[in-house]
């Protein structure tokens, strides 16, 4: 599932501008290591651009996990039945655990957890846009567990082949746990789709509302800049957004259609000749509007996080032992 961007040695010159401040000898060693398929560990030398991009990627992923727990957390008290309540509670706990794992991996690059949380709360850091939409009914929760987690798994399995050791380790554990999220989501989704006419109508309504955010999930088509090519060469970016969207459609559209449900895009079809999915372009202006803070729930999501940080502060401080100081964790 590697990206399709290939750079020949002749083309390498284009990176000169981005790398002009790096020590050429160390850079060559770093690149050799990646070419050999070895991982980069926190105390290794790495180019500034690599450090910055990997940090940004892991940090956004961590933020997406804690914010992502909110739409589902809302539904724990109202989940239909004890078994679904237990499953949802376990899933929400997992998501918070994933955030912890990812913040730990990001910390190894030299940014503290406080700095990351502050940037999230100040609206400076991004998280996945999909969590700025409301879960209005139980069908939305079933859909999130199935189709949002499916997207997350494609993203995480792809990134788990990347080059940064701590991120790869965190993702292995995360992917293992996510397998349950997807299965319980699919189970809840199928229960509604094969249920009463009212239940079917509920899941169809959820699909109609969520299809656009799902099409936004992997981001807009990449502009294959010099920057992108370099990050692909360094195994930071492992696939283009469109490649991941194709894998997603290929795996999950048939699982929706087999239940006799429809998707609100008349152009959606798999071209039998190319094997590629065709679809209408989702509204990318809306995507950018939401990512810049003006989605249906951006304000509520951050207000809830702020409230949690502020109200948890006294207990964190009461437990603080001043004699033990923070050092960057090793791995």
């Amino acid at each position: 599932m590697y990206g399709t961007i290939h750079i020949s040695e002749e083309e390498y010159g284009q990176f000169a501008e981005l790398l002009k401040n790096e020590d050429p000898e160390k850079l060559a060693e770093f690149e050799d290591r990646i070419q050999r398929g070895e991982k980069i560990e926190p105390d290794d030398w790495m180019p500034q651009l690599y450090r910055r991009q990997v940090l940004r990627m892991i940090e956004q992923h961590a933020h997406s996990e804690i914010i992502g727990a909110l739409p589902e957390g809302t539904w724990i008290t109202r989940a239909p039945g004890f078994r679904r309540k237990m499953a949802l509670m376990a899933k929400v706990q997992d998501e918070i655990g994933h955030a912890q794992l990812l913040y730990s991996a990001a910390e190894t690059l030299g940014k503290t957890r406080e700095e990351m949380i502050n940037d999230l709360l100040a609206g400076k850091s991004k998280y996945s846009n999909v969590f700025n939409y409301p879960a209005k009914t139980w069908a939305d929760v079933a859909l999130i567990g199935f189709l949002v987690d499916a997207g997350a798994i494609i993203n995480q399995v792809t990134n788990a082949k990347g080059s940064y050791g701590p991120y790869v380790r965190a993702l292995e554990r995360i992917c293992y746990e996510e397998a349950f999220h997807l299965k319980q989501g699919h189970d809840a989704f199928v229960a509604l789709a094969t249920g009463t006419p009212a239940q079917r109508a509920m899941i169809q309504d959820a699909l109609n509302r969520w299809w656009q955010p799902l099409m936004h999930f992997f981001g807009p088509p990449d502009n294959i800049s010099t920057h992108t090519k370099l990050l692909t060469r360094w195994k930071v970016k492992m696939a283009t957004n469109d490649e991941m969207r194709q894998w997603y459609l290929d795996q999950y559209v048939p699982k929706i259609w087999e239940l006799g449900l429809t998707l609100p895009d008349p152009a959606l079809r798999k071209d039998p000749e190319t094997g590629k999915w065709e679809y209408s372009d989702p509204d990318w202006d809306e995507f950018f509007r939401v990512i810049n803070g003006d989605g249906p729930l951006n304000k509520e999501r951050l207000a809830v996080r702020r409230w949690a940080e502020e109200h948890g502060r006294w207990i964190r401080q009461a437990l603080q032992k001043p004699e033990r100081s923070y050092v960057t964790p090793f791995a």
């Binding site: 304000k299 951050l302 702020r306 502060r313 437990l319 923070y326 964790p329 090793f330």
Partner: protein, 126 residues
């Protein structure tokens, strides 16, 4: 303006839009130092390093380690060690270990006697 939420718990908090604005930022160390966590899956196996937790005390580090790293499968024991108490070789020293795989005189497969024994047995039969 009041934030209207679908979540009754959020509704009860009566957030106003100004809540969205940051109040006081977290200060360094507010989320505690880290402990390295080791996990033993089964009796008779090695404890394996699985990651870190942030915690104010070793006892709380163990409680967090249970929540974080013992969520699936079996666990018989957890260890936590303050990160600042771990000493490690530096990446520049990696070369020290580079030739170890070449030192095959330390490996059982470097010692092949079967052929010699066979040859000896044959010579005795003659």
């Amino acid at each position: 303006m009041k934030i209207i939420s679908l979540d009754p718990r959020v509704e009860r908090l009566e957030f106003r839009e100004e809540h969205w604005q940051p109040q006081r930022p977290l200060t360094a160390g507010e989320q505690w130092p880290t402990y390295e966590v080791f996990h033993m899956k089964k009796r008779g196996t090695q404890p394996v390093h699985v990651g870190i937790v942030h915690a104010p005390t070793p006892e709380m580090a163990l409680a967090f380690a249970k929540e974080q790293y013992a969520r699936r499968g079996t666990t018989v024991r957890l260890w936590v060690v303050p990160s600042d108490q771990v000493y490690a070789t530096s990446p520049e020293d990696e070369a020290i270990f580079a030739t170890t795989p070449e030192k095959i005189h330390r490996e059982p497969f470097a010692y092949k006697v079967k052929e010699k024994i066979e040859r000896y047995k044959k010579s005795q039969k003659k």
